[in-house]
Symmetry: C2
Subunit: 115 residues, 2 copies
DNA sequence: GATTATATGTAGGTAATCTACCTATGTCAA
DNA sequence: TTGACATAGGTAGATTACCTACATATAATC
């Protein structure tokens, strides 16, 4: 059926930017935190996230830098740029308008008897 | 940028089924009503809707029948089936869970100071 | 007579996400 | 000590949803 995956469509960028707004994160951490904060609804796949991050970096929405973890493991951290913050605001506005419009259609027939 | 089109992604089927739940409609009418009820946020393209309707009919989610309009024009009406109603309920549940999860991520940092 | 609205449709393209794979290190249990 | 699992980053190719652009035809309007 492959219906579950597509409901996410178009909003992954917004969610990732939103997480990076609170603090700098590395890829694996983004996947974990998104899963936690969404109460296990979102489980980003690496094949989704890493190309997405590379694209955001190419477009100047995020910067990246390497940092060593406690255990000598190197992590690639991403930081939101001013441009990225602008994109986030735009996407959040679109999200608000979109959900409002969907709910107008869904609530039709329940709220209004004379539609 | 092509960002506006993708925010719709995955939910067009739900919206179309929802409209057909209220009454039987023909394709052109679905486009008009969806535009009206969403306050002009959704403008389905014929290249999106007609193939979608054909797919729903193939899957037994809707039935179709021809009917003459006042002006002798033939319209192809679509009617929601029991199976289609089941799909609609499933999609509405997914939508509710999905928007709730997105809002959990978006509200983070505003509601909770100690995240 | 020309344009616009109504009405249905197809072909081909793009973009977002997925599946499925690869590499590599750290940790823990058998 | 080896095997499994978690951590960490990555790519190639497929799938899917929706779009653009086109084609067809009738009715209404200018």
């Amino acid at each position: 059926m492959a219906s579950e995956k597509n409901i996410i469509s178009g909003n992954t960028t917004m969610l990732v930017l939103k997480l990076l707004e609170t603090k700098n994160m590395y890829g694996y951490q983004i996947i974990e935190e998104l899963s936690n904060k969404s109460e296990d609804v979102f489980h980003l796949k690496t094949g989704t996230l890493y190309p997405l991050l590379h694209g955001l970096e190419n477009d100047g929405m995020v910067n990246s830098y390497d940092e060593n973890a406690d255990n000598q493991r190197v992590r690639k951290y991403y930081q939101l740029t001013g441009k990225g913050k602008g994109l986030l605001e735009k996407k959040q506005l679109e999200w608000t308008q979109y959900t409002k419009a969907v709910n107008l259609v869904l609530e039709e027939g329940e709220s209004y008897a004379f539609a």
